[in-house]
Subunit: 507 residues, 2 copies
């Protein structure tokens, strides 16, 4: 990009900071993949040392001096005019700067200490299946997050200030009607599915599937999706994730269970969606907000689109099921495409969010959203969480978990202070459906292409419509630019009704 001379010193500084952030990302990736077990203490110290260094650079004198030459640090207004994309770039730099400087250093340290302490306590409590071991930590973290919301400031709800970290601009006022509409559609659908006499076979999914063949098949699918192994790779870790050090170095992980064919496969496709986004960010903007993903919701839309709209579609498997059968002839040889397709789309309510199907998944998120609001807005006492959790599970999923481990203690997020994060999963599902609907309208014969295993037109469409823009637009603006309307949950529920009415022969 042709950067105006006056902006160059800021961009140089941002890129230097980004180098440290990328190093932190590599250290974290390595921690989950190859690091020897005896080094966790040293690595934790190193990470926190480098994160402190990054924080100092983000809020320190050198940053404010460079930024104040371009922007009024109080209001965020540009000091002088400049051509696109620089107003957007500066707007987003200021957004980050403003959020970071609103939080006092003592507070940042306190929160970081508390969450560092909470992590092993949560692990232990979950292992012992005992929420009361974790609740003192959680109480402190909730108190800190309320304090954080006050520092950050908000208009209507303190929860808005927390949401804004993960999904800039998103508010409780926008989320409530969305979840309400989802609830009205999903609960009746779930009831009908449960009552359907037609229930798919899934027995073949937990046969023995050779580990390295699973990985190889996943890589074949990733390659077809357009994930580049020239600028990326896939490794193994306990929990699958995607990380990126630069658009030319994007790393996925998956996990493999020899008796669970879908776990590794859908992890690879899901993380591949994230990875394709990261590979699609423009290299020339690396280190600036224009080279970063817009929001967690949009990021998740990319993984969900590939995982659900593509990876759980009949078209996709028209091409890939024969290949899968060749890869695993023993367990799959007598299976036909329809049985496979029904099996991988089986709806079976689970207590565990990450094991949930497309129909129930968002109900798990709704439950967490309600609880988080109760904690942040309404002072729900932490002690009452397990009861509240179980009561909502009964209402949405129809059953109560019998243990804390498969209930309130199942997710890592709260131990890390990530309140306002969960709703981005549902937003991801909704954005995905709306984007995929648009892609089908714009790409000629998309289903036919998918049925031939040709996924590159879709990948290129996403590159052009979503990835290349970085943080140039807000999520709201981006979705409107692409689809001509604001976020609309109906695309998601309509696609779901169409698919499951057919699969379960619903009236």
């Amino acid at each position: 990009m042709l950067t105006p001379d006056k902006i160059k010193p800021l961009i140089t500084y941002l890129k230097e900071t980004q180098h440290i952030k990328s190093a932190i990302s590599l250290l974290s990736w390595d921690q989950e993949t190859y690091m020897p077990s005896g080094s966790s203490q040293a690595r934790a110290e190193q990470l926190s040392g480098l994160m402190a260094l990054v924080h100092d650079r983000q809020v320190g004198r050198e940053m404010s001096e460079r930024l104040s030459k371009l922007i009024d640090l109080k209001t965020g207004e540009l000091v002088s005019e400049t051509a696109e994309p620089f107003p957007a770039l500066l707007r987003e730099v200021w957004r980050d700067y403003d959020r970071a400087t609103k939080l006092p250093s003592d507070f940042v340290r306190a929160l970081s200490l508390e969450t560092a302490l909470a992590h092993p306590i949560w692990i232990e409590a979950r292992k012992n299946n005992n929420f009361s071991q974790f609740s003192p930590s959680l109480r402190k973290i909730v108190a800190l997050k309320k304090e954080e919301a006050e520092y950050l400031a908000y208009k209507d709800s303190p929860y808005d200030a927390l949401l804004d970290e993960y999904e800039p601009g998103m508010t409780v006022a926008q989320l409530v009607p969305i979840f309400s509409s989802l609830k009205d559609k999903l609960l009746p659908l779930l009831e009908k599915i449960a009552a359907s006499p037609r229930q798919p076979r899934t027995d073949f999914l937990d046969e023995f599937y050779n580990e390295s063949a699973q990985i190889r098949f996943g890589e074949q699918v990733l390659t077809a999706m357009g994930f580049s192994f020239q600028t990326g790779r896939q490794d193994l870790s306990t929990h699958p994730f995607t990380t990126s050090f630069h658009p030319s170095d994007v790393r996925l992980t998956t996990r493999v269970d020899t008796h669970d064919l879908l776990s590794s496969l859908f992890s690879s496709i899901h993380e591949g969606g994230h990875g394709i986004y990261d590979q699609g960010l423009l290299q020339e903007y690396f280190g600036t907000p224009l080279g970063e993903a817009i929001s967690l919701g949009i990021h998740e839309s990319q993984s969900r689109l590939w995982e659900n709209s593509v990876g759980r579609s009949r078209s996709f498997w028209k091409h890939f099921f024969p290949i899968l059968k060749e890869t695993f002839p023993r367990p799959l040889k007598d299976l036909d495409l329809e049985t496979w397709y029904a099996g991988i789309n089986c709806v079976r309510p689970s207590f565990i969010r990450v094991e949930s199907d497309e129909v129930t998944y968002n109900l798990h998120i709704m439950l967490r959203f309600e609880i988080e609001r109760d904690l942040i807005e309404n002072n729900l006492p932490v002690e009452q969480l397990p009861d509240r959790w179980n009561e909502l599970m009964q209402r949405y999923i129809g059953r109560k978990p019998t243990t804390d481990a498969e209930g309130i203690l199942q997710d890592i997020h709260w131990a890390g202070g990530a309140f306002g994060y969960f709703p981005t999963y549902t937003l991801g599902n909704l954005y995905a459906a709306q984007l995929f609907n648009q892609a089908k309208a714009e790409i000629v014969d998309l289903s036919a292409q998918m049925a031939k295993g040709d996924l590159l037109a879709l990948k290129t469409w996403l590159n052009e419509k979503v990835h290349r823009w970085g943080r140039q637009y807000t999520s709201e603006e981006l979705i409107h630019r692409i689809t001509g309307e604001p976020l609309n949950p109906d695309y998601f529920t309509k696609a779901l009704y169409k698919k499951y009415a057919e699969l379960y022969r619903l009236s």
Copy 2:
């Protein structure tokens, strides 16, 4: 350690810097092991950005402010008294600071740019077997290294200033008699060996050896040596190396050739020696000079001691040869220990340094030392290097290489500006022999232990005598403390004569 309050701010600052340096090491390790090929440009930029950051921290205002409270920055004298080990710690911090601040920033940038440019040119020139492609780069680098010596200052020879970077305190005046004594012993030995009617069999070494079995066997040996896989690991790379991010995270690499059994095996043992040193540095001193290796020569002594004094000894193979035969029954089943032992110690002069045996290796280094001195002290024109090289090869090895690639262009060092580095390889060999001689005197039944595969007493002895001290002593002091005398090349030549007189039945 109980750090005096006045020293704490400095140590905190040093540790922060070390975190960035460790991140750089991980980025470099990753570059050689797992990084996707498409990311080399971004990684190079990231590394140079972070190295600049480290340099700024090492010579900047914050460093000088903290250091000047403890040390007179001009003379290196302590401002006030303090108990051991802090005088040594501060002496070494000042040594690094003083060297770094003597070099102007413009000079550092120019050298770093020139060597970055030279690297691909050297690769290309070697591929094309054409020294004249590389000589313009080399001329510039030599000129810069002479300039560097002037900045750093020296008493007798400008080459001393360069040596001092890799082997603090070492001088041309010390090296000349050492190499002269080596030459007087090695050349006659080599002649006798060549004339011996008894030449060992080596045909079994290039049979087919399964790759993963080679790696597994290497790991077995590493474990017996006491290299910890709790705080370390081994991966594959084109050129074997060792790197460390902390004593609790030390990484080796090896390379495997299915038709060269010794390549991977001795790489693992050699790098394992380096790795055991790094794992043996005291964690409490991490980030300070007392948590760093003393010199390249002492580091190399650890790898050479394990590789040659242990790994090429009869005792070692008494235990490991039966295991190796079980691992590779087909190619080794009819071989006896003596044939194996003679084969792995075969002396066969090569043009290539890294393929050389124990007897000829130091002759390769002597040649390089003489050429480097000629370049730095005597203004030998770069154009004359190939002739000078070939003439010395004829004198030491008895044959002239016919191509630049197997002559003057074989090593990467000069392209990287590493003048004064080569002598540390020979110093490593000499230190190793002197240390191993002392170990045999102090450890009861060391040979018998080795013959049972028990190498831990030796490892513990090295931990106690060498590793734990970091940079507390200079190499000269350390060798004297351990062996009661200064560096003495006779231990090396005596051990060599004893071994090869027997192997080749020399009179």
